[in-house]
Subunit: 113 residues, 2 copies
């Protein structure tokens, strides 16, 4: 068969797809933990994240890659280690993307059930 197991993005607006990409990216507890950690610490070396979270190093590396692929974090090589940080510009863009949905009003909401 043809399109099994694949999201049909073409059925939705670009905005809907963007919102879903972002919420999906943060839709895992490890990635939430990573984001909280990156907001909380001074130095953001990859190895520290591995110790903090408690998953295997390749697993963390993969989660970091996903967060990076949607732009929420960025990394820079510093010797043998890599420093990861929140990309606050893109983090703000995500907030602006989500707020119109999150703040949809209860006033306009029909009470049919």
């Amino acid at each position: 068969m043809k399109d099994m197991g694949v999201t049909k993005s073409e059925k939705f607006t670009e905005e809907q797809n963007k919102i879903a990409r972002m919420t999906k990216a943060i839709g895992h507890p490890a990635r939430i933990a990573i984001i909280q950690y990156l907001f909380s610490i001074d130095s953001c070396v990859c190895g520290d994240i591995v110790n903090e979270i408690g998953l295997a190093q390749p697993t963390i590396s993969q989660h970091l890659k996903e967060l990076k692929s949607v732009g929420l974090i960025k990394g820079s090589v510093e010797g043998t280690s890599v420093c990861y940080c929140i990309d606050y510009h893109n983090w703000s863009l995500m907030k602006n993307l989500l707020s119109p949905i999150l703040n949809l009003d209860a006033a306009t909401l029909n009470k049919c059930c």
Copy 2:
């Protein structure tokens, strides 16, 4: 092998798991579209949602089930049809759950990369 393909929820706090469950639930364009639609319309019959979104009826039914399982929507049977609505109480709880993360401050953010 043992725990392949399964999220290790026990490694994270209850709050982190809750946030991830919620963001994951809205991490699909069809479910974003359903939520937007339910906020926008007066009558919220399941069949209307199927027509609006453009995916097959069983697929929509499955997405509705997922949104319902995290409490973001609720449904009530009305004759042969089912009326789905936003559960605004839980929607607000989700907003309260997300805002501490979304509003993490750039001021406290270390600029190491």
